[in-house]
């Protein structure tokens, strides 16, 4: 059951989020955090898993939706259910393994058994059980839907459709899966769970912040030649990459305009993986194949918790106002030679996670920011580039790479969501843009 006594009622988001700045209490206040768990993580759509993680009937993975423990499981009919990981009897964890395959889920406390849809199928010592099996199933998330294999769910039975939530950003997901000549990605590489002692919102904000790279990552730039030299490390006039607000809180750093050679985004020349380029051109035709090889994968956040991080997929998980998890896996491609996926894996280990050449530095900066926001706090400025961003024909707001177009897009949507359904509608961002 949804709790209708919204905890956000007492918080005046319109006073904390202005067009060009946000107040630091949004990162530190525990009431704000509780309100987010309700308005964003229970009432909205949340990314759960990719269907390639649970390909067979009975396959399951454990996840959290906000702080609620759930598991996603594929039923015998092939459909994926997202089920709260809490026994309907007295609340024990039902699914103990992180991932696996099961025909049924048996509670280890008193032995109630559930099928892969969460239905109660057996109760030990049945003579004493006077309830109705059909009323004692596990709680299922009301809505589950997927796009290109990305599975999203919501506790809210009246949430607008996933299509409404994704809006134009389906194009970003399309671009990710079209890195594969068969249009399929495979998230079978396992996840690394990196803890940052900062508010979870700093993770999507920083992942699509194009302004910090020169300052947070000089050691990377000095030690490693990479595609980022061209995409993000130029001076202001030479930078061709863009910061974008796709609406509904979905944001992107578009590096594609910086690339002039096929596979530059992959840090190599085209002849390094000839069968990969050939397969892409055969699958999508010469023109589109060329474009995919040149543009590379998206670098984009799907609100609130999914990051299409080039050849990585990342989940953000809120733990507490000052603790968030950045959880990543390599985005393996179907229909390519193993050496392509090997390179994706090695690049993933290099870029993301606790030891990485990039994210280890981002995490220290984020933790310092969290420290600086302690106490009464103050305002954070997000005005950069507001006067020079433009709205393209598709309604996407486009700014200079170093501009806070993406941050403003995140917060505009956040504000609508937090203020509640009365004041927000899925198309409001488009109207505002």
């Amino acid at each position: 059951m949804l709790d209708n006594s919204r905890p956000s009622e007492g918080i005046r988001f319109e006073e904390l989020i202005l067009d060009d700045r946000v107040h630091s209490t949004l990162y530190t206040d525990s009431e704000v955090f509780e309100a987010e768990m309700d308005s964003i993580f229970r009432n909205g759509w949340v990314f759960i898993c990719h269907d390639s993680e649970i390909p067979k009937a009975g396959d399951f993975v454990r996840r959290n939706v906000g702080r609620d423990p759930v598991f996603a499981v594929r039923g015998r009919d092939g459909e994926i259910s997202v089920i709260v990981n809490r026994c309907a009897h007295r609340g024990n964890i039902i699914c103990q393994e992180e991932r696996g395959n099961a025909k049924a889920f048996v509670c280890q406390y008193h032995g109630w058994a559930y099928d892969t849809k969460g239905g109660l199928v057996d109760v030990p010592y049945p003579a004493g059980f006077k309830g109705d099996f059909s009323c004692h199933g596990l709680e299922r998330l009301a809505k589950v839907d997927s796009y290109q294999g990305f599975v999203f769910a919501s506790f809210n039975p009246t949430v607008p459709s996933l299509g409404d939530h994704l809006g134009r950003a389906t194009e970003l997901i399309d671009r990710a899966v079209e890195m594969s000549p068969v249009g399929r990605i495979n998230l079978s590489g396992g996840w690394v769970r990196h803890q940052l002692n900062c508010n979870w919102k700093m993770l999507p904000e920083n992942d699509t912040d194009g302004y910090h790279v020169n300052f947070v990552h000089p050691s990377f730039a000095q030690a490693i030649r990479s595609n980022y030299d061209e995409a993000v490390l130029q001076d202001e006039e030479s930078l061709k990459s863009e910061a974008k607000d796709w609406g509904n809180g979905h944001t992107e750093l578009n590096f594609s305009p910086s690339y002039s050679r096929p596979l530059e985004w992959f840090g190599c020349a085209e002849d390094r993986y000839p069968s990969y380029s050939k397969a892409l051109r055969e699958a999508y035709g010469q023109e589109k194949g060329d474009k995919i090889l040149l543009d590379g994968p998206p670098h984009a956040v799907i609100f609130p918790n999914l990051f299409l991080g080039e050849m990585n997929i990342v989940r953000f998980e809120p733990v507490a106002p000052g603790v968030g998890l950045h959880i990543h896996t390599p985005m393996y491609l179907e229909g390519v030679d193993d050496d392509v996926n090997q390179r994706i894996l090695r690049q993933s280990e290099g870029a993301l996670g606790p030891t990485a050449f990039l994210l280890a530095d981002d995490s220290v900066i984020a933790e310092r920011t969290q420290l600086a926001l302690a106490g009464k706090g103050g305002w954070l400025d997000l005005s950069r580039g507001a006067e020079r961003e433009v709205t393209d024909d598709n309604g996407v707001v486009v700014g200079h790479l170093t501009d806070e177009t993406s941050n403003r897009g995140f917060w505009r949507h956040y504000k609508q969501v937090m203020q509640g359904p009365d004041q927000s509608s899925p198309t409001a961002a488009a109207a505002a843009a």
Partner: protein, 162 residues
């Protein structure tokens, strides 16, 4: 069975390697690594380095050199200033792989005082597996696998030499 002298040499190596890592003397530590070095922190218990599952860290010699180069820039924020560290090494077991080559298991508890953001003590217990070889009278390592007890996470930033 290794001889007492061999055990002493191996233990001496472990202590020196630990001290150079504790003190963030990156290039001196790197000089202990052979060309075929494999430096690895798996993400899951029982992981195989070649099974296509992601690792927390999985460096061949080239990538390790890059890692050291990055630390040596002096602007690797995650280690500016370097963590203060102290590792306690115990339960050392040594097997001979070949003449002058050893497989060494140890238990390590690494205390890390993190001073880059908040000041915090972090503890990293691990089972560690080294492969060492005697070359030109000096002990070197060609493999170091650090099996963190908490590798499945959540794991805090880990940018020092583990």
């Amino acid at each position: 069975m290794v001889t007492i002298e061999e055990r002493l040499r191996v233990e001496e190596f472990l202590f020196k390697e630990a001290r150079l890592a504790d003190e963030s003397r990156y290039s001196e530590w790197e000089a202990l690594a052979e060309d075929d070095m494999h430096y690895w922190v798996p993400a899951e218990a029982g992981q195989d380095p070649d099974d296509g599952r992601i690792s927390i860290l999985n460096d061949n010699r080239t990538r390790l050199a890059t890692r050291i180069r990055q630390l040596n820039t002096g602007v690797r924020h995650a280690q500016v200033p370097p963590s203060r560290m102290c590792r306690i090494i115990s339960n050392v077991e040594i097997e001979t792989i070949a003449d002058g080559e050893y497989f060494v298991r140890s238990n390590v508890v690494l205390y890390e005082y993190r001073i880059q953001a908040d000041k915090e003590m972090e503890v990293w217990p691990a089972r560690v597996e080294h492969k060492l070889r005697m070359r030109d009278g000096e002990m070197k390592m060609f493999s170091k696998h650090i099996l963190l007890l908490n590798s499945e996470g959540p794991v805090r930033g880990l940018s020092f030499i583990i």
